[in-house]
Assembly symmetry: C2
Homo-oligomer: 360 residues x 2
């Protein structure tokens, strides 16, 4: 029986994830596309990928206009792969939009299959799993309050220089490097599902897949990049190479990024995770002359909200609990919040009254 | 004999300064206008001023297209009032552009008058006088290497919410508060010239003039605003009120501005100047709901260079000498430098090669 995977989110990461599964051809791939739906159905995707080459007019097995439409399709999905932005302060927090498809999977679950429902979060940040665990605990997902599939929670981080540069146009510049593990390292069912997903996803010689026994460590590691380079480029509105060079005298690297990265290392350490200092060199050197626009910078450029809370807000909560001083991250976060507010005004989430000088 | 004043710089501050002198009607006012020259000659200025009301089609006694043109006019100016931006890293540093008019004043000086040449810097920042002192020491200003007027160096800071909002259009929202003193508090000639200038400038009941026996203290005081609110609004690209509100939870004020302001107080203290903590409240409260765009923010918006070096670079040099830790100011400065680099690319001062990922 063919395994069914629903990929939620059709940005640079989501489309590449769906394509990698499709290319491997071991499962049925469904993709939730919102703004690009019409064009995706008609023409498919144009993908310029360093892993897979030039791909024209590509479509997954199924396209859905919304999560509600995917939920209403009457299917049980073996895997829900969440690749959307994770923005708790935005209009569409993960917990809210994943609830309907979880419910429909519970409804459409056939006990005879003995299948588990596997939720895989391929998203940035730290402590993003907690709200899903809360949601899964809720009894209301089972129609009878008792029966339902076992649920596993899988967590992944992806280093992938992939960006949606236009309507159904994806530019993928850095090898897809997916690190995946069970959120609970003691959950043997979840661990077996990670192995199963590897078989569905890994295209040898193309993308890179790594089983991860300590996925939280990997999340902290990725934050070395994401909590520093990502918000800084968003604040200054420049690609990473310009951001590095325009400081002159190395002040961007040695006056901002490395001090901020050291703070991430210190918070991670306070949380029990040792990230080696060499990771800082790697994160800076890998994109040094790549003229790459990190995701938050692209968000600001496109007047979209950034994943500021899960990437910078949550680490700073851990820092506050563990009393780790973080002057650089704190300032980047506080400036980032103002930039986020600027976007919130532009997209109409908040209204500023010029006459009173106050928010309405 | 009528005193002649040359105002150099026709931005929000320069035009208001020239107008205040003109309104007092005790001297002959010349103004160097660059980009707005044609319109200024033809239509004059439109000024919307909280001190002077609505002023239409105003012109000073003389308009010059450039400093060279003012220099070539064959006059001796009693006062050179420099109100331009002070940008040592830009294409037109003060030392460079003031040299020709200093030379012409030396040439056109009549020993029989016994007049002094008085250079008045109404500019932001700290330690901006040093390069002018160097220049005045140079023998080449006197044609015969011996004779020439005595030169005084006057220094002023101005709190004035005045902005050029269009071609020859000035919007002036906060009362002109000029604080002026001799750069060298022991120079009695300079002190007498400050008193003379007060008589030329002060329009009782309109603008405010304050004699200053410790002008460096006043410069540090103004930096409480200029080294914090000014660069922050430039970085986030918002007026001050939005910058304050969009951080939410008071994080702009208590997480960025007050910590940075405390650092300015600490550097000033290390330089021998005690600024009271209440100044921080004043600086934040005076513009809290004014929806005012500080000068650096306007510079970035207009793709102009900011006075970053004299406002943030120079204080941080003092901090480094005196070993005052300034994490917040340092980060604001380092981010500000990247924003300045962004402008430098836009105006063609630097060229970035996208293919090599390097500056050319």
């Amino acid at each position: 029986m063919t395994l069914k995977v629903l990929v939620i989110g059709a940005g640079g990461v989501g489309v590449l994830t769906a394509y990698s599964l499709f290319h491997r051809a071991k499962c049925e791939v469904s993709l939730v596309v919102r703004s690009d739906y019409e064009k995706a159905v008609q023409d498919g995707y144009e993908i310029d990928s360093c892993d897979y080459g030039q791909i024209h007019n590509w479509k997954p097995h199924h396209l859905y206009r919304s999560i509600e439409e995917a939920s209403a399709s009457g299917q049980f999905f073996d895997y829900l792969v969440v690749t959307t932005k994770n923005i708790p302060d935005g209009p569409s927090p993960v917990r809210k939009f994943i609830e309907p498809v979880l419910k429909s999977c519970f409804e459409n679950w056939d006990p005879k299959t003995g299948k588990s429902l596997n939720v895989f979060l391929v998203q940035n940040g730290i402590d993003i799993e907690l709200e899903i665990i809360d949601l899964l605990k809720a009894d209301h997902l089972c129609s009878d309050g008792v029966h339902g599939p076992k649920v596993t929670l899988l967590s992944g981080v992806q280093m992938i220089g992939s960006t949606k540069i236009g309507n159904c146009q994806i530019l993928h510049k850095g090898q897809d490097y997916l690190i995946m593990g069970a959120f609970d390292p003691k959950d043997t069912l979840a661990i077996s599902k990670v192995a199963e997903f590897k078989d569905l996803y890994w295209n040898e010689g193309k993308n890179h897949f790594e089983l991860d026994e300590n996925v939280k460590w990997s999340r902290w590691r990725k934050l070395v990049y994401n909590a520093t380079i990502n918000p800084l480029t968003a604040i200054v509105g420049l690609d990473f190479t310009r951001t590095l060079l325009f400081g002159f005298d190395g002040s961007t690297e040695f006056g901002i990024l490395r001090p901020a990265m050291k703070e991430i290392l210190a918070i991670a350490k306070s949380d029990g995770h040792i990230i080696p200092e060499e990771v800082m060199d790697y994160m800076i050197d890998c994109d040094r002359t790549m003229v790459y626009k990190p995701s938050m910078m692209v968000d600001v450029e496109k007047t979209q909200l950034m994943e500021l809370e899960v990437i910078l807000g949550n680490p700073l909560k851990v820092a506050a609990q563990n009393k780790v001083p973080c002057p650089n991250l704190t300032l980047l976060y506080n400036i980032g919040k103002i930039i986020q507010g600027r976007t919130k005004e532009k997209i109409g989430m908040i209204t500023f009254n010029e006459k009173t000088g106050n928010l309405e």
